[in-house]
Symmetry: C2
Subunit: 399 residues, 2 copies
């Protein structure tokens, strides 16, 4: 929201205070503007915001708000003006393309009261880039525009350079909306500048991942660990397709997180399947390896390939079984890849309460008799939860 | 952003004007609050926002902004107060769970200046629901709280009821953050109320999907169709993993969209592979069916199952080939499912400019000699683009 919501609990800050950029400021507050009418029309999911939130948190920058804006020059200008008045760091993605509705450069120039002019160096870089690819469309010349206070941020894999503007105590960083270009520019250009510009205390995070117990039941079982996870530690609980996650974080010493993580293990026992970046597909394949299964194939019915997609994307771990591929709804007619172990998953119809039963079995050198597990959820989520319920069985009982 | 950005170009509106809810208002402006610290920490991607934006647009409601907020009671209250002052319709997702950090009910109650009290009917429904599942954790009782002006919106597949509050000319609708619950509540409870409450002119949208030509080259080729798509028609261009999309929309008569769609077909020829909800996987399988291929299997290397995941999720069309499954990186060691046609995809390493070559071939009753295609992009996007490049070859030359 506007001032009221963003400023809650924050020290007020004067937009026009002159700040010496050589002096690092404490605890920067950041805002993100996600620019593009396609976001508001629901044509694109703003996955960039989550990436940036995660990266900033790890660096020690608190993302206080995200705003999605349409491709409207005046709205973009007003948003930059307001955000620069509130935040120490304003990040923006999108609207740097070559087409008529890419207006982020213009909007920020208006907010800064600066002129856009063609930067000959940027233009040369653009022409070089297109030299390798063929003739450059004239519209791309807009991507060589810059205001005087903007430093250009290189984009080695796209035509839109970013901008870094440090004026009147507020930093603005513009990045492309194309996720691969944004991620690379963030990692190579924006992230390294932040600790040089601001005084940062990195956030330490531990996430404990569980499967098979509902969110409110988990919350009750861990009780005090959520309400009072320890001095300087924050706790959160999240229901995901791959189970309930408990997240502990601190800006103090990382060792403060050991006690709550240990507590969750103690209270939830074998419902815990992993930590932090662990993926349930990777954990399941890793559980099969030591039992003598070098390769795994899958057979699934009525899940539209959810199991196959998760296993194909699973993290590769040393000594884990290797996923070879699988078949869909084939009723036995299509031979499976020859594997040591075959995972079989069948999703039964949903009941009136939104619950479904899932049948899981393992055959081959590691086997598990058919068992039924309940899941809830609808649509795509139901399919993924069915697949995770199968993987949860694999990692629990790989005998 | 705050007032300045949201109000740009909109008629100003007094928050406290009393409105007769029986009188439908024209052209409602909507804002969405996505509530949850996990969004700002990047732990969750806000896919709900895109769903809601798309559904609202189709119904004729313009989503003017999306705001992500942390789980902070005062920040939530301030956001509702501000949003109710600007918008006719304020939607919010998240923060309706049973745990201590679910504060949307409290925040809205504060903004409305109303008391939260337990609703005996909601409590009975909750106890019924848990009756089937086992004992109800006491924390779930918070989900039976309601302010006097809120009408509860049933949630048949979860424990969090929604709220519909229509006061002082502004509607607020609260929905759960769990995507399946939110989608069902939107479809069954929120969407049907909107045309009864507001005067709506539905938006008509046509999207033309292409593959194989870059965004700025497409923009140049279609030229005037983007800049001047016709009276009352808006145009946009988007680079996606499955190619460049051109989107035309109008609040006038749907027939206004025929001319620009036809124009794109004429100017881009066989680069066009589909319209609207078409998916390239479904189109590729549909192109193989009439050539006599009833079944398809896949073989892919260095794409982490991207092709297999897209084909498994492809829309089923009458007469299309059926996808049976596939193998990964198996180097010929694992037998494929027996299929009429095998798609082979191999992704070569990325060059310094972020480009990669993709090798595609078809063998079996429909065949295609190995050919190379270039793609660009990094990370997951690169893998998906490789898979789409293969599917694009299938639909182009299925002989």
């Amino acid at each position: 929201m506007g001032f009221a919501a963003w400023r809650h609990g924050l020290p007020s800050r004067c937009a026009n205070a002159s700040a010496d950029p050589r002096v690092a400021e404490p605890a920067p507050r950041a805002l993100l503007l996600s620019i593009g009418s396609e976001l508001l029309a629901g044509e694109t999911v703003d996955a960039n915001a989550a990436f940036i939130g995660r990266e900033l948190a790890a660096l020690g920058v608190s993302l206080d708000g995200v705003r999605q804006l349409p491709d409207d020059r005046a709205a973009i200008a007003a948003a930059f003006t307001e955000a620069r008045g509130i935040a120490d760091l304003v990040l923006a993605t999108g609207g740097l393309g070559p087409t008529h509705d890419d207006l982020t450069r213009e909007g920020l120039a208006d907010a800064l009261g600066e002129e856009l002019t063609a930067d000959p160096q940027l233009e040369a870089l653009l022409r070089d880039r297109f030299g390798a690819l063929g003739r450059m469309p004239e519209s791309n010349l807009r991507q060589a525009l810059r205001v005087p206070s903007a430093e250009a941020l290189p984009n080695p894999i796209g035509s839109a350079p970013g901008w870094w503007v440090d004026r009147e105590g507020a930093v603005v960083a513009l990045m492309p909306g194309v996720p691969s270009e944004m991620r690379r520019m963030f990692a190579e250009q924006v992230a390294p500048r932040l600790p040089r510009r601001f005084e940062l205390r990195p956030l330490h995070v531990r996430t404990v991942k569980t499967f098979g117990i509902g969110e409110s039941a988990v919350a009750e079982m861990v009780g005090d660990l959520l309400e009072r996870p320890g001095p300087g530690v924050s706790a959160g609980i999240y229901a995901r397709d791959d189970g309930v996650h408990l997240r502990f974080s601190t800006r103090g010493d990382a060792s403060l997180l050991a006690a709550p993580v240990e507590g969750v293990h103690r209270l939830l026992g074998e419902a815990v399947w992993g930590l932090d970046g662990d993926d349930l597909g990777g954990i399941a394949l890793a559980a099969l390896g030591p039992r003598g299964a070098a390769t795994v194939a899958s057979w699934e019915a009525d899940t539209r390939g959810a199991l196959l997609a998760i296993l194909a994307g699973a993290a590769k771990r040393d000594g884990a079984a290797r996923y070879l591929g699988g078949v869909l709804d084939a009723g036995g007619a299509a031979p499976l890849p020859v594997a040591d172990v075959v995972v079989q998953l069948s999703l039964l119809p949903q009941d009136a309460h939104g619950r479904s039963r899932v049948r899981v079995a393992l055959t081959g050198s590691v086997s598990l008799p058919m068992r039924e597990v309940r899941i809830h959820g609808s649509g795509e989520q139901r399919l993924r939860r069915a697949a995770y319920a199968a993987l949860d069985q694999l990692r629990r009982r790989p005998q």
